[in-house]
């Protein structure tokens, strides 16, 4: 249940606004009105159902009165948060009451599309580095759907693949990544666990040692710290400690890094942590095509793979090749944008800053090349060096902390392998060296910004 906030309004009529169901929600679908115009409502009555790709929720009236007007009809998709969806008139008013005057800047017209669309509008390049056969059909899907499809395809292909984690089965996934999997594969292969990360991570590793292929979902990677010993000491090191005998084909996956407004304990980026560990592969997809192709590769990989997703990217849509078995190799970077003046190296959600910055820079006459690493371990150093040989300059972008971060690593590798090609010192754009604050303004400051990337690029270009 979700209580809508009444818009500050006249004492007679109240606008019901589209509520946000989660910190990252920006739009949703108005599934169904349970009241019609003219119906009386009491505070607490459920008046409508709304839905996002993560959840369905009920909208409650917060005032007594009449439904004076329904502003957004049943079935409208992409209704932006805070759009007025109905007007509740006070007692004594008629059903034909107009929208309260002057209080809402937004036009209270039914809107099939939101006035302010979400980020995917910044058209992703989404061109995989892999050569696709000419005429390959593409289908638009969200990262969320791509991940789900990857798991479903691999579970159909290999009976030993199963998924284990909190709320993965009956709840359909805390972030709806496993939606529908229980129905198709049953409770034997889609296993809800107790809230016991250390225990179920170890259980997954044990099952992998015994020859199964578990996908262990962490509701978020923040909780995987509870399981760190099993991930590092048991999963990553056993092949080596056993002289190559005892492999551990497990995938640990889930959202990593900052979501929105969830503060320090739920906002950490673990890219650098896992990248530090030999024996692990670390994958951080950005596009839906890569999310799908890399997750399928990760599930087939005989090694433990850390698969770092991002909550904010889950709802982003990209073009995905409509092919029988879309695999993206682990360890190969993707040139997301070709350019000649500077190389911007990023991965995961960092790519959103890089792409927007490149667009701005283009307007300023700087032609940036963007390299999407996709895999952090093994890192495709050759691709970075190759690009920097061409551009002579490099800026790295990540949401993680600066010290011993991915940018620091890239910078060191370039010093070692491309020093003579650098025309300027490498500059790192990272999350700030602080725990993530809650306040909206501080949180924004703590994360990288497009402006920072633009400034850094200009600095290394001496512009």
């Amino acid at each position: 249940m979700y209580c809508t906030l009444p818009a500050p309004d006249s004492d007679m009529a109240t606008n019901v606004l589209m509520p946000a169901l989660s910190p990252t929600m920006e739009q949703g679908k108005l599934t169904k009105w349970l009241k019609k115009e003219g119906d009386p409502v009491k505070s607490g009555d459920v008046i409508a159902e709304i839905e996002t790709d993560k959840a369905t929720m009920e909208v409650e009236a917060v005032d007594d009165g009449l439904i004076a007007k329904i502003l957004v009809p049943d079935g409208t998709e992409n209704v932006a948060v805070n759009t007025p969806i109905a007007v509740i008139a006070g007692e004594g008013e008629t059903a034909s009451s107009e929208v309260a005057p002057g209080s809402e800047p937004a036009t209270p017209e039914p809107q099939p599309t939101p006035a302010v669309p979400m980020a995917p509008a910044a058209a992703p390049k989404g061109v995989p580095a892999e050569a696709l056969p000419e005429g390959t059909a593409m289908v638009t899907m969200t990262v969320r759907e791509a991940l789900r499809d990857a798991m479903a395809e691999e579970m159909r292909r290999d009976e030993t693949v199963f998924i284990l984690g909190e709320e993965v089965a009956e709840y359909q996934g805390a972030y709806k990544i496993t939606q529908g999997l229980l129905d198709e594969f049953g409770a034997r292969r889609v296993v809800d666990t107790p809230i016991t990360e250390h225990g179920f991570a170890g259980l997954g590793v044990g099952a992998a040692m015994a020859g199964l292929r578990p996908i262990v979902e962490f509701m978020t990677f923040n909780f995987a710290m509870q399981a760190m010993d099993q991930i590092i000491n048991s999963a990553a090191k056993t092949l080596y400690m056993s002289g190559g005998q005892m492999g551990c084909p497990v995938v640990f996956r889930g959202p990593n890094g900052a979501a929105a407004r969830v503060a320090a304990q739920h906002s950490q980026d673990y890219c650098a942590w896992y990248s530090n560990v030999p024996g692990l592969k670390v994958v951080v997809p950005y596009t839906a095509a890569d999310a799908k192709g890399l997750l399928k590769s990760a599930i087939r990989d005989p090694n433990p793979v850390i698969f770092l997703e991002n909550e904010i990217l889950y709802g982003h849509s990209f073009e995905v090749p409509q092919v029988e078995d879309h695999l993206v190799p682990i360890g190969v970077a993707r040139i997301a944008r070709e350019g000649k003046d500077v190389t911007i190296v990023s991965f995961g959600i960092g790519m959103t800053y890089a792409e927007k910055a490149a667009t701005e820079l283009e307007a300023q006459g700087i032609d940036a090349e963007i390299l999407d690493l996709r895999t952090l371990r093994p890192m495709d150093t050759a691709a970075i060096v190759e690009s920097v040989k061409k551009t002579g300059r490099c800026v790295t972008v990540e949401e993680g902390w600066p010290q011993c971060g991915i940018g620091a690593e890239i910078s060191a590798r370039l010093m070692e392998q491309a020093f003579d090609y650098l025309d300027a010192p490498v500059v790192r754009i990272t999350g700030k060296d602080v725990p993530m604050p809650y306040a909206a303004n501080l949180e924004k400051l703590a994360l990288p910004s497009v402006a920072e990337v633009v400034e850094a690029v200009k600095a290394v270009c001496y512009r």
Binding site: F162, R188, V191, T193, P194, T196, H198, G199, F200, A201, G202, L203, G204, V205, G206, A207, A208, M209, A210, G211, L212, D229, Q230, N233, S234, T238, L239, Y240, M241, S242, G243, G244, Q245, M246, G247, P249, P278, G279, K281, S297, R300, D301, P302, N303, L327, P329, I330, G331, V332, T375, P378, D380
Partner: protein
Amino acid sequence: MAPSDTARSKPAPRKGKATPAQGPSFTREEELEAYRRMLLIRRFEERAGQMYGMGLIGGFCHLYIGQEAVVTGVMMVAKEGDQTITSYRDHGHMLACGMDPKGVMAELTGRRGGYSKGKGGSMHMFSKAKQFYGGHGIVGAQVPLGTGIAFANRYRGNDNVCFTYFGDGAANQGQVYESFNMAELWKLPVVYIVENNRYAMGTSVTRSSALTDFSKRGQSFNIPGEQVDGMDVRAVKAAAQRATDWCRGGNGPIILEMQTYRYRGHSMSDPAKYRSKEEVQKMREEHDPIEQVRQRLLSGKQASEDELKAIDAEVRATIAEAVDFASHDAEPDPAELWTDVLHPAGAGL
């Protein structure tokens, strides 16, 4: 069985015939088998201790001397495909699983012929062929792993069980209870074997554990448990039989607290100042697991001194061969530094 049935938290339900009042008895063949297997572990560990003193074995080395009856008795009821996983005090378990003493000893000396090519050492050895899953150096970490191996048994629908060993020290780790919960929830075929040797490194159970009856540690999960004389291989075998019957019957996990004793220190560097020499001496004289079998065999006229001496000689020869191999085998090739970090069949780079 009803989840609320408190009877389940009593010592393990006896399935099948009742235990004889005097304790279970062994046939002559079983006695001799137990004697041979325990002696192999004892002699192996004694030599490992010596070799450590000579500098041939480095790092940590945790000896199993005194506890031989536990793994020996359990393995007497194991069937093809059952798995074993334990902590770092693992040499005895490997020998009991049928792993080659040469390969184990060579791993202790860090040689290329060791089970892990010299990369694992005393605490980290594995054998897929013998269903031995390590050899784990982090106290308690093997418990979720063993639970996961049992999960794989259930997933595959076979009737194998995973013997998951841990000590009284590990029994205080949180992940043990996370495992208990899932194992009972999903009725996983895992026998949790608490080797209570009375000391978590240097801290006695009474100083570290609020509840020192480890068989009861599964009570809040409705997992049955039983305390067993872990110095009597017959009692161990009988309890293990009951436990495996329970697991194979689809009833979920069970706990066996094996009351045992280690004669040596926690590791080679342990001066064992936390207990008296008299305490150790008393255990050796009155409860030694190998001596018990020996005395029964001799007093019951089931075996002669000469027969036992022959077994002793045979065991010594096996160990001598292992020591010789482990002392002369080459160290790993330097190129091995870089192998086995990742499985080469991995997709991608």
